[in-house]
Amino acid sequence: MTLLALTRRTLIAAATSTLALGAALAPATAQTPEGVLIVGQIAEPKSLDPAAVTAVNDFRILVNLYEGLVRYKPGTLEVEPQLATDWTISDDGTVYTFTLREGVTFHDGTPFDAAAVKFNFDRMLDDTHPYHDTGPFPLAFFFSAVKETTVVDPMTVRFTLSEPYAPFLSNLAYPTGLLVSPAAVEAHGADFGRNPAGTGPFTFAEWRSNEAVVIERNDDYWGDPAGTDAVVFRPITDANTRVAEMLAGGIDLMVEVPPTSLGQFRGEGFEIVEQAGPHVWFLILNAREGPFADVRVRQAANYAVNKEAIVNDVLEGTAEVAAGPIPPAFAWAYNDALAPYPHDPEKARALLAEAGMEAPEVTFYVTEGGSGMLDPVAMGTAIQADLAEVGFDVTIETYEWNTFLGEVNPGLEGKADMAEMAWMTNDPDTLPYLALRTDAWPDRGGFNSGYYSNPEVDALLEEARTATDQNRRAELYREMQAIVQQDAPWVFVANWKQNAVTSDRVGNFTLEPSFLLHLQDVVKN
């Protein structure tokens, strides 16, 4: 026993002194070559075919190789021209006509024209297209409103939609709308994803499985040339190892730094970059049955949860308190008149008493981790404690991410009263439309797992989707946010700030609200 105790103590001492040594020694010379930016990614990409992938991790590479007709204006989530120079929308909102940029060629030498655009959309949307089998294309439904893509002349392309669909432009700016070289798809077929060719500021150089994807400066680029000779994307799935690589100088830039590791980079040699994005972290409340069927109990939960403590203590300041269903990153559609529910346990207790609820029992689904879920177990535990303080009796059930989705997406009825959830979207329409409408109840094919229903909200969302004037859309969304906040179908918890760390050899780096990683302007000394 003595020996064991001694061993343990020795171990702890050894570990502590190693860590202390880490703090004491300043980083030595960097190892990475000049002009080559090495990026620590969170996983191996699935494919470099923009139509075939869904993960932000893959998008971070793609936006440097490819371009779309439009893109997000830097620093915003508003759409601006990229490979299209101009466009017109018909009055009824169903015909979009784009004028294309002259003198652009794909990396394999194929000229960029209207036929290439048509090829891209037909490949994704038309089952009979000869290269439709290079899929599956999981996010093709972003463009499911497109009835037909027409080549008007070599430099003009027209999309005819089956119905007005306002998010169409921002979907075109999403990575699923990036344009690939038709000739390269024809040459490589299903292996196009490993032999990509786009029009972007970087060209593909090599992909060493599980080691690196290398892209190099495109010297024939139509715009300003890239600031680095090459960028290497390294998949490092373990967050601790990623942090160690950054500290050791093995990578120049890392994304998704764990909140608890940020402290190690506050100091010389590193720069921390943060950017709020289109992300909402919330609790779905089961409005069909149980205590949360009463709006007062739902509001009580919103008052009871101490969101400030969660974003500052659990998430170490890497998120901000959410006020409603649309994140502030969508500046044009965000209702900044709304203040988040304050942390007010007294008010929560009063509302519970008013609703006649004595210690309501609540089953709470928590996930172990997942896309955009931040620190779900710690957050879930904090929420459980906050709710318990005002009188809720909360039982947590924890599931692995894919299992969790399998439980939550079909609806909470008969299983749970409350579940964690997070979304990252590219248009203010997406989340409310898919998760707050009556027609989005799970049995109707949506994600409204808590069965919230308000005809007023339904009408506002339908109208916003068909309005082509952005100001009108913004008005409708603001109205919708006010109603939803009052109805409290969710507990609005946090908006995540994406973070990244760069070494001091890296310059001109910024994060975008879109969570994409544009590296064209970045330089490395």
């Binding site: 061993t7 799935t237 190892t241 991410w401």
Partner: protein, 315 residues
């Protein structure tokens, strides 16, 4: 001998078939499906059905099992949807990396472990024995992933002697010295526990043998102590050490999973963990069957080696 090997090989067939059934059933039973994993937030029933159709997952289970088994017997392990390439290509490439890591670790733990055990036994209760026993206890007690992380902090982050992770340098690497520099830490971290286990068992096996009458006879005849230990005792002790080596080989192979994640070694263990999280059914199934086949192969090799050393085992 040939008959013995053949018998063992035939007995492996039902084991492997059983494994295919088990791994297939587990992948079919665990909640969450590939379509949900691909689509994430966008997994509407309609989208899920479309992806399942594209992946061929809409067929009945039994039919899917036999299609998979049939294809595999013809050497076609299918295509990984999460990596978008043939499963077998991925497994072979990854297995190569795992073999380098696990193989090196195994050599390290076998040599160091037996050496430590022999020295320990020869100098029972001496200073060397006490030092070795103590070190071995530490080796066995530290979880390998923790040891790995501490090594990274010390040797890569602070001292900067060795690279943090990966198998080759991203730029200007790819030769053997480069590989060795990347291999040192993961191989040692992975070998630590197994070295301890082997050392302990070698020590007791040696002590057991050293108490035998024929050892006393050999010593009485004046055979030099070195020959007594290595020639007489070790050879006899090997009969009980070899099965332990076999078990530890399997242990090193499975322990590689943690080490591969900590050191981002592009091996089959890391591949399987990623594949499970992404519900990449074919990759998990193919990977598990492949690893299981290797395991079975190891065991047969160990049994054969043992029967060569000890004629009594042969049947």
């Amino acid at each position: 001998m040939g008959r013995y090997i053949l018998k063992r090989l035939i007995s492996a067939v039902p084991v492997l078939l059983g494994i295919t059934v088990i791994v297939f059933a587990i992948m079919a039973m665990i909640p969450g499906d590939p379509a949900t994993a691909i689509l994430g937030s966008y997994a509407t029933p309609e989208n899920v059905a479309r992806i399942n159709r594209d992946l061929g997952l809409d067929k009945p289970l039994v039919q899917r099992y036999f299609i998979w088994l049939g294809n595999m017997l013809q050497g076609d392990f299918g295509r990984s949807f999460s990596l978008n390439r043939p499963v077998l290509d991925e497994i072979l490439e990854r297995f190569n990396a795992t073999l380098i890591l696990a193989g090196t670790s195994f050599v390290i733990c076998a040599i160091l472990g037996i050496l430590a055990g022999v020295v320990s036994a020869a100098r029972q209760y001496g200073l060397a024995d006490k030092l070795i026993t103590f070190t071995v206890l530490i080796g066995i007690s530290i979880p390998s992933f923790f040891l790995g992380m501490m090594m990274i902090l010390l040797f890569a982050v602070n001292l900067r002697w060795l690279p943090v992770s990966g198998m080759y340098a991203i730029y200007g690497g790819g030769d053997v010295p480069d590989l060795l520099r990347h291999l040192v830490m993961p191989a040692l971290a992975l070998a630590a526990v197994a070295t301890g286990v082997i050392a302990r068992l070698s020590r007791s096996a040696m002590l057991e043998v050293l108490r035998q009458d024929y050892i006393r006879t050999a010593r009485a005849k004046g055979v030099p102590e070195g020959r007594v230990i290595l020639g007489h005792a070790l050879r006899a002790a090997m009969v009980s050490i070899i099965p332990v080596l076999g078990i530890q080989a399997g242990f090193v192979l499975s322990g590689a999973v943690y080490i591969e994640i900590v050191f981002q070694w592009p091996g089959v263990g890391r591949m399987l963990v990623d594949a499970i999280l992404k519900r990449d059914i074919l990759l998990v199934q193919g990977g598990v069957v492949f690893v299981a086949a290797c395991y079975v192969g190891f065991n047969i090799a160990v049994d054969v080696a043992q029967s060569l050393l000890d004629p009594r085992i042969k049947t």
